[in-house]
């Protein structure tokens, strides 16, 4: 693994998911409550303020898909099937230990899956509005946030005060700023770390359960990386093509896609998806009078394809292409994800319009298409820039 060339702390993040199993068990033994989430639209500040420990439950392996297919159609996004399968088979300790699962009405597959999940796990579904261009959207989402607050207060016998929310906002904002700072490293040429390692750090952070500790580790890691770079450490060749990855969440295909890019002459300098800049680019207004409204506002800035029209994504992408001096864009679409799949056309237009090559890869969690994906990615990276 490439962590060998990187300053300390990286391996710790990469291992966080496994380490977290123990932590979550300890939390439960001490009477702590755990909330499982599936999406970046979940307002984590509210869960924090309720004293819950939050963990992402997105299924990232093929292992349980076969079990999930007993209840779900085959022709469904692998992320949905895998997540459901892990809950069904109790193979994921995080799902198993979750006292409540918060879902949102995002894509069709996910929201209908939550209905089935609700039959055997405690779930609570938030109604996410999908048209941010309507003036009532913010009000509706705000109401949903208040409903969630009430629900959690009732279920867990806690009081969620403005003060607690404000504290949570500060912490989450700090964490998001640190994520952004880490992502900014991708702007250096060559970048001081591979995209794969960057992604692993963010992924690992989701299993830390202690925001403060996580933030100080992130701080240290960023500083170490910068310092090593200044000392002349160059883990990435300056001839690598600078790739922006966009599309569906890629936790389950990270190896297949990102490692292939990075072993075929490319480096991922920016992730414009759920594990990347998309959900953290905007912060909550800390000084706001109405803190719940401020939280609601921030979440509606996430440019996910479940939004219609998806204005935020189309606005942010061209900015990122410039900021990160991208040489090419690769879009990853999970099989049967209709929202991202349909949006490909618009994304391609934007990317080609900026004079850059674009390629979309449709894939799932299986290994059957590795050969084909390698060929496509290599061919994409072989393309010469046009004068």
């Amino acid at each position: 693994m490439s962590f060998l060339d990187l300053p300390g702390r990286f391996d710790e993040f990469a291992d966080a998911r496994r380490q977290g199993f123990l932590k979550v068990k300890q939390i439960k033994e001490k009477g702590g409550k755990v909330a499982g989430i599936f999406c970046t639209f979940t307002p984590t500040e509210i869960l924090d303020a309720a004293g819950l420990y939050t963990v992402g439950l997105c299924g990232m392996s093929e292992e349980t898909i076969i079990d999930a297919e007993a209840d779900l159609p085959r022709n469904l996004c692998p992320l949905i099937k895998s997540s459901y399968g892990f809950a069904l088979t109790e193979k994921c300790p995080y799902t198993y230990f979750s006292d409540i699962i918060i879902g949102e009405t995002t894509c069709d597959g996910k929201k209908k899956m939550y209905e089935l999940l609700g039959e055997f796990k405690d779930t609570y579904i938030m109604q996410l509005p999908q048209g941010i261009d309507r003036e009532y959207t913010l009000g509706m989402w705000e109401k949903e946030l208040h409903l969630l607050i009430k629900e959690l207060e009732k279920r867990f016998g806690v009081e969620i005060t403005d003060e607690k929310l404000k504290k949570a906002v500060l912490k989450r904002n700090l964490q998001r700023s640190l994520y952004n700072e880490l992502f900014e490293l991708g702007k250096l040429d060559p970048p001081p770390l591979k995209g794969f390692d960057m992604y692993k750090v963010i992924e690992g952070s989701g299993f830390s359960f202690d925001l403060e500790e996580n933030c100080s580790k992130l701080r240290e890691l960023i500083d170490n990386t910068k310092e090593a770079y200044q000392r002349g450490n160059r883990p990435v060749s300056k001839d690598s093509k600078r790739i922006l990855v966009t599309g569906c969440p890629i936790g389950g295909v990270l190896d297949k896609v990102v490692n292939t890019i990075e072993s075929s002459g490319g480096v991922v300098v920016c992730f414009e998806n759920c594990g990347g800049v998309k959900p953290v680019r905007h912060l909550v207004d800390e000084g706001a009078q109405d803190i719940v409204k401020a939280i609601a506002e921030r979440y509606l800035k996430i440019g996910c394809s479940v939004m219609s029209p998806n204005i935020q994504r189309m606005q942010m992408l061209p900015e990122l292409l410039k900021e990160f001096r991208v040489d090419g864009v690769m879009e990853i679409v999970l099989q049967a994800c209709h929202t991202y799949s349909v949006e490909k056309r618009e994304i391609k237009k934007i990317v080609n319009g900026a004079g850059l090559p674009y390629m979309a890869i449709e894939t799932d969690y299986s290994k059957s298409d590795i050969g084909q994906i390698k060929t496509r990615i290599s061919a994409f990276l072989e393309m010469e820039p046009l004068e």
């Binding site: 391609k348 090559p357 390629m359 084909q372 060929t375 061919a379 046009l386």
Partner: protein, 255 residues
């Protein structure tokens, strides 16, 4: 110095040797068979007999078996090679290339001799040479006969994209007494439709489209595709060597 391109595809392996002035010194095609490693070795021996070895030639391997050529100086994907090869073969550096290969079909957009965009079929075999082969054998004919039959058929359409379902569709068409010609027509029609929809996904505004790969040898496929796309598709009998040719041309830039 010689420049050798070796294109090991899923059904056949093609070899082209160029000299310094881009003249073809020798070329060869053979079935890939079970093992691309064995095929690569066979090619090495044959080339050596003809006096082409690593002392006097650079080798570039391409195609899905490119990783099985231990003596290659470089491997390059078939997409880049087909693009380069076709631009050279058809003496046109701004065009669109359709390659219907054994395992996959690719549409490649070329500008100034470089690949600027491409698209490949998804992982199933619909719209590939393999699909045609399987359907031909279900009908009990060879590939070229299938194309000849198709010319005088009409009226049948195969709706399944999946090879397995399409096969049973063909079987039931046979069962219900449709003529071989009509079924053959339906099979070719289904593949050219699939290629057409792939073309639609590529942002190419090219007016010149070339066909490469083994199916170049069928005039009927070219005609049927031309009808679908509303443009005369150009091809020539050497189209199947486009990948190997592109590989040989790329060998020239190896230091």
């Amino acid at each position: 110095m010689y420049y050798t391109g070796i294109d090991i595809g899923s059904t056949s392996a093609k070899v082209i040797v160029l000299d310094g002035s881009n003249d073809v010194i020798c070329r060869n095609v053979m079935p890939t068979g079970w093992s691309s490693v064995d095929t690569a070795e066979k090619i090495r021996r044959e080339l050596a007999e003809a006096g082409i070895n690593s002392e006097c030639s650079k080798f570039v391997a391409t195609g899905y078996g490119r990783i099985s050529v231990p003596y290659a100086d470089k491997t390059i994907t078939e997409i880049t090679c087909h693009g380069k090869g076709a631009a050279f073969l058809y003496e046109d550096d701004t065009c669109t290339v359709i390659d219907i290969g054994g395992q996959d079909t690719k549409i490649i957009s070329i500008m100034k001799g470089q690949v600027i965009d491409f698209i490949m079929n998804d992982k199933c075999s619909a719209g590939t040479g393999r699909f045609l082969e399987i359907m031909a054998s279900t009908l009990g004919v060879g590939l070229s006969e299938l194309c000849n039959l198709a010319r005088s058929g009409s009226g049948v359409s195969i709706s399944s994209m999946c090879t397995v379902f399409a096969e049973s569709e063909v079987v039931s068409l046979i069962g219900s007494g449709h003529s071989k010609e009509d079924i053959a027509y339906g099979i070719v029609d289904s593949i050219t439709n699939k290629v057409k929809s792939l073309c639609g996904k590529l942002s190419a505004d090219n007016t010149r489209i070339y066909l490469t790969g083994g199916l170049c040898e069928s005039d009927y496929i070219i005609e049927s595709l031309s009808d679908k796309l509303g443009i005369r598709i150009l091809s020539n009998r050497n189209g199947r060597y486009a990948g190997a040719l592109g590989a040989a041309l790329s060998a020239k830039s190896i230091k």
